[in-house]
């Protein structure tokens, strides 16, 4: 069972991420029983079939870096879990996608960072509105994951607004100039 970080603590987790193989067709792959996070293409192709599972909270959708989150605009009420994939940890499109889902589209369900996620980026994920972080299985030992929790709090008072704290520092606190 995978370990995830949710709301600042480590939890065991039984969601599985469905990744299409090269010759898989989005409309044809069978989404097995259990909790699955499926690619946007699968969701779009099989929405009628999968909607009930999404509403029951046992099916989520993941977006790739090139996906436009607005494509989920009509589904946001139905979806309780959306994940954003980081194909490489240095591919930062997911940060903007998460920001758009939360701040623009008003998505309020679980938002999960999946793929190649590093503890050194935890702080940024949280700031952009992810509430769950799922490192690659085997990426961190239990002990390492425990100590990685510290990275969630790398900076206490960032300057600019983001999803977690929309107000920039200058609106949050009074910053006097001392002579």
């Amino acid at each position: 069972m995978a370990e995830i970080i949710k709301h600042g603590a480590i939890h065991a987790d039984d969601w599985e991420v469905l990744r299409l193989a090269e010759d898989d067709e989005a409309g044809k792959v069978e989404v097995a029983h259990g909790r699955w996070i499926v690619p946007l293409a699968v969701w779009q192709a099989q929405r009628d079939k999968l909607a009930a599972r999404a509403e029951a909270g046992v099916l989520g959708v993941w977006l790739a870096g090139g996906d436009d989150p607005a494509q989920l605009a009509d589904d946001l009420v139905r979806l309780q879990l959306i994940a954003v994939d980081f194909p490489k940890f240095a591919d930062g499109r997911g940060y903007s996608i998460a920001t758009l889902l939360r701040a623009r589209l008003g998505y309020g369900g679980e938002l999960r960072a999946i793929g190649n996620v590093l503890r050194d980026q935890f702080f940024f994920y949280i700031r952009c509105g992810f509430d769950v972080i799922q490192p690659q299985p085997g990426k961190y030992s239990a002990e390492q994951l425990q100590s990685a929790l510290a990275s969630l709090k790398d900076f206490s008072e960032p300057y600019q607004g983001a999803v977690d704290r929309a107000e920039p520092l200058f609106r949050r606190v009074s910053r006097e100039v001392r002579a």
């Binding site: 240095a90 930062g92 700031r127 520092l169 200058f170």
Partner: protein
Amino acid sequence: MYQYDEYDQRLVDERVAQFRDQTRRYLAGELGEDEFRPLRLQNGVYIQRHAPMLRIAIPYGNLRAAQLRKLAHIARTYDRGYAHFTTRQNVQFNWPALEDVPEILAELATVQMHAIQTSGNCIRNVTSDPFAGVAGDEHTDPRPWAELVRQWSTFHPEFAFLPRKFKIAVNGATEDRAVIQVHDIGLDLKRDEAGNIGFRVLVGGGLGRTPIIGDEIAAFVPWQHVLSYCEAILRVYNLHGRRDNLYKARIKILVKALGIEEFRRQVDAEFAHLKDGPATLTEAEVARVAQHFVDPEYAALPATDAGYEAKKAENKPFAAWAKRNVRAHKRPGYASVVLSLKPTGVAPGDITAEQLDRVAELSERYSFGEVRVTHEQNLVLADVRQSELFELWQQVRDARLSTPNIGLLTDIIACPGGDFCNLANAKSIPIANAIQARFDNLDYLHDIGEIELNISGCMNACGHHHVGHIGVLGVDKNGEEWYQVTIGGDQGNHTALGKVIGPSFAAHEMPDVVESLIGVYLELRHADERFIDTVRRVGAEPFKTRVYADRAARLEDERKVVNG
């Protein structure tokens, strides 16, 4: 100058702790090479030819005496006794050990310095006019705006892993001294008819492999919205910039691919959602930041100092220095002094620990304890009384910082090139030094007048060769170092990219090539015409023709010598 408050300080301290732990995990093997790379880059640590290179941020080139002393201390303790100022107004150390970097950062934090976002694919340290606040042609002080951009961009969570690096420059004077046309975003302060401050915004400029002059994306963005507008640009870029090809990942490629109209449409669509949101600047915040940049306590002085004028009349070397290295100041009786880091034989931009200490001391004695860094890799004491210039000159002469060559042929911009940089195709520093040595005669140098010669060791263009009146680019030909020459480049209001004059040259030819170019210029120039203006008037042809004719003659001579 901007002084940290508790919030600024805490962020920098927290960064030190974060990087200390990252370095520890890397050295312990917990963090892989590939994983550590972007993390260390965002903290200015390159792995270079000799050792890691550490690039330290000097936001918009502003420094205080205590900071200079700290740099001197770091140079002595952790490096080989010198530091290197760069074309992005930053400073680099070439020889620190990676193990020491956390400690160096901790030391820097004690004087309100850091290495945040000096490299990597994030919003880089913001640059501006080194004469901000003192230039006569300034209509709006760019420093508060540069500082606001600095704060907004520091650890911006959405833009820490962009397709590629991202550089923002701010200008507030009639003459652009921040080279905003070759930045990813150029912010040009403007006032509308009612006198309200705003920004003309340029986007998609840059040098490097594909040099491009930025396009205007907005004629006037009111100041309240400048950060949200930048956010809109960055978001479009982050989502749509190319990530498949390193060489096509800069925003300039996206802007060109979409066309500026389509790019503007996308940015405007994004901005429509952000406008008037929380990132909107408030008058109180702008005023708070601006308070850090109020004028120092200037004395009321006569417009010109009689003693200074007299000294210039009687002392020729002083007059030469005053002519080249002293700039007019907006305040009567004051002047700005440029300290040349370009004496012959020194790598352009290099400074020793002793010199750093001396500059700190001189800044305290003569210029309110502040120093600026120029993108031409020199230092500036911005607020010196004319009456003290002679005394100051004697001191800087002792410190070997008085070479009277600012804006002249030997005031060369050069990247570290093959002597230090892994990416180099060729050396830069020895070429700069050889040209300096050839033009060592001061009278001749002054007669040639204003000219900018820029050298890069590879097409990354760290030495800004594209915008040099004469540009020199190191190229690799079958494993040998060759140099391609461009002319007609320019920075500032008339920013232009130079054109290649023809086949490249061997290193030892470079002083001759420059001499040929200068020879043509001296023959063709009109009175008071600068090299670049002559090139513009007559075109490149006479220059090309002469350079290659002279070269053929030289080869012929060499052959005769060999055969004779």
